[in-house]
Symmetry: C2
Subunit: 445 residues, 2 copies
């Protein structure tokens, strides 16, 4: 028999993961599986393997010490390199002793939520928010999320006001809030928050007596021309040195290495760090992989070149995908960072509800065989938005947008010929890819 | 501010880890630090690096897919290799879908405790037990341990009776017990449990309606001549196929790779597996390291040779350490497996209490600079026993036993000359290692 809480957790698998594995089980291949799934749902940077491969496949100068028990919150030498790297990003001296390395940013978010909240206590998050926050910040910690909806007509920009309102509202209802959590750069909407806004957000949180958790996993994935990334730990933001700002970062996005599961929590609060170290014991990372990344970070010149090239490629992929969407008549929110576009399919809903959004999602996945994620999974305040990831091969993104556009076109067509009962053509249908093949698809349904 | 439960966890760092890092911060070196710590407290296999190095430092045939998101409870290909390997150990077909890979055996124990127990529910463990059970099975799960003391005058052998008694006693007191947990081969006392005893233990547990968790992390570290290891999943044991036996294993001991933090839970119960997979999400392991170990396991011939040689070296180290203890007049329990000896220092306690045991421990650590762990940390039912790990370089073990013997000799001497107030000589004192150096020791006190 399984414990109540474990059963509850198992009953709610992260939606992103489920869609991801369904798509990956039968992936698109122009020749072999033309009817396979196009995975534009998973925020993976698939543009940089050629740059990484020589480093990752090379001989590894491991020593016996690299394989023995080490500090379970990250080896000293690894945390020193990480601190040096983060010092460059955050433009403030990062102390290696303020760093706790754990199993991915998932682990880092779980750790900080568990450190800040007892079960039932709340974390305010501007919505839409990164879908996995629902599991990462909640699943083991027992904390709960209070979404603070931002406005579609303000391009989903996070403002201090919405947080102030949510915090005041929670207090009025007698809810104990321990933290505000947000992603910066944003996800699913890749805005880069200006230092002034970050500063005001920190001020609002401090005024309400809560901590601030900032997920900066896309810190080095800013491709916009006008604005650079500014960390929440930057002196421009944290001039007040509240000690209440905790940042998480990892190698999944900026380095395109999500499988390596190396996340880090950076906190200036010694009590938070001590508690986080105790929790890291349960989600310790491989010293083998730490050694790999330690040596990678030590080569500063390589890192600088790699990140610059990655940003160039992301920018190119973004502009290309944006062009395809525009050409197809699909609106989206222009952004400066991240791997995804927030696409406005409100015009294709049968009604302005999340049920209709789910219905459209199912058609895109089942009929067009494209994995994009619906806004509901990101606690979108407004039905009809979808997250589309563009950091994949141009041909794949193009095929995916094309399939979606065809499906949406056929929906419009069948809506105008409303008496029609004929099933719409598969969106990607072409001479070489008969719709029948769907029935043989191996992906889990 | 830190949550109550995180503060509680941080307040109880695992004693083994604390002693380990103290000893490792200023390690013994015959030339450089003759007064440095001899670490015989940490159960690490330091005898096999020469065999591992060529594999671990070689080029790695990683592909992009090896670094992307994979199943968070272990990549399919890795679990297939693991299943093949465990099938050999357990002498029963292991299904890759019954395996959940997580961050070390620590993670696997945390996961199974969380899956089986809601907070406050209990796990019965024969005592003495592996010290870190107190954290691994308890720290995040909120379960509690009920020690079932085994008897010193029966060589600390685990018997079904002591478990039956503990389970019946718990029921009488209204305590909800969900599982029995034990290490086999044993730790701190490296007995190999015969299949008959394992079978009876499973029968007792099933009769009481609880599951059985068996930590088989030393499965391939059996060096005794008379008895081979038999897994709790072996058909000889689990002929009844109760589905209530869950086994954990990892690369830390048998492969001498504790830093790699790869543990695995093997359970035939689909509900347990589903819940464990949900928890593995928070303690997922590096696909980089999974790929390394996948390729290692795939080379069956190498694995067989490596494990055989490791067992030979362990046996040699055991016999050598046992010889040193015997020569020094220090009694111990003869065992057949593991990395440690259970040494009887009851004769050197000032009184038969755990306070006196702690006092002796402190002297061994502070004066002799030897890290061995006191029985109290293993919930020993009887004060005066210490765990001494022998899987290190012979010169180091010999130096450690020598220092302990000298300290104990000086204690005896000062006890017989009871009027003496002179400080005893440092146990390792020699011309080249003045006792004064202790004051400059860099290890955390």
């Amino acid at each position: 028999m399984v414990s109540r809480r474990a059963a509850a957790l198992a009953a709610q698998p992260p939606a992103i993961a489920v869609a991801h594995f369904r798509a990956e089980a039968y992936p698109y291949d122009a020749r072999l599986r033309p009817d396979g799934y196009i995975n534009l749902g998973t925020a993976e940077n698939r543009l940089v393997w050629d740059l990484l491969a020589p480093r990752l496949t090379a001989r590894r100068p491991l020593t016996a010490a690299d394989t023995h028990y080490g500090p379970l919150h990250g080896a000293d030498a690894f945390r020193r390199e990480l601190a040096g790297f983060l010092t460059g990003i955050c433009r403030t001296e990062i102390d290696p002793d303020h760093l706790v390395v754990v199993s991915g940013v998932t682990g880092a978010l779980d750790v900080i939520a568990t450190v800040l909240c007892d079960p039932g206590e709340a974390i305010v998050v501007p919505a839409p928010y990164y879908s996995a926050f629902d599991v990462d910040l909640v699943g083991r910690s027992g904390a709960r999320l209070l979404p603070a909806p931002v406005r579609a007509d303000q391009d989903f920009q996070v403002t201090p006001d919405v947080l102030d309102e949510a915090l005041a509202g929670a207090r009025a209802r007698g809810v104990t809030v321990r933290a505000v959590a947000l992603a910066s750069p944003g996800n699913p909407v890749g805005h880069v928050l200006p230092p002034r806004v970050l500063r005001e957000i920190v001020a609002v949180a401090v005024r309400h007596g809560v901590d601030v958790v900032v997920d900066e996993i896309y810190a080095n994935s800013v491709f916009g021309d006008n604005s650079g990334f500014v960390s929440a730990l930057d002196p421009e933001v944290e001039a007040a040195g509240t000690g209440r700002v905790h940042v998480v970062w990892g190698f999944a996005k900026d380095f395109g290495l999500p499988g390596l599961k190396i996340g880090v929590l950076c906190s200036p609060d010694p009590q938070v760090c001590a508690a986080a170290r105790a929790l890291a014991y349960f989600a310790a990372t491989s010293t083998d992989t730490q050694a790999l990344l330690r040596d990678l970070l030590a080569d500063r010149e390589w890192v600088t070149g790699f990140l610059a090239e990655s940003r160039r490629r992301l920018g190119r992929a973004y502009r290309s995908a944006a062009g395809l969407l525009t050409a197809a008549g699909l609106p989206f929110v222009p952004v400066e960072a991240g791997f995804s576009l927030w696409v406005d399919l409100r015009g294709w809903l049968t009604e302005p509800t999340f049920a209709a959004e789910d219905e459209l999602w199912a058609r895109i996945l089942d009929e067009a065989h494209v994995n994009v994620l619906p806004g509901r999974l990101f606690a979108s305040p407004d039905p009809g938005w979808f997250r589309l990831c563009f950091a994949a091969a141009p041909a794949v993104v193009s095929q995916g947008v094309d399939r979606i556009a065809r499906l949406l076109g056929s929906l419009r067509a069948s809506a105008s010929a409303s008496a029609s009962v004929a099933e719409p053509e598969p969106a990607f249908a072409s001479g070489s890819a008969p719709g029948r093949r769907y029935e043989r698809a191996e992906g889990p349904r």
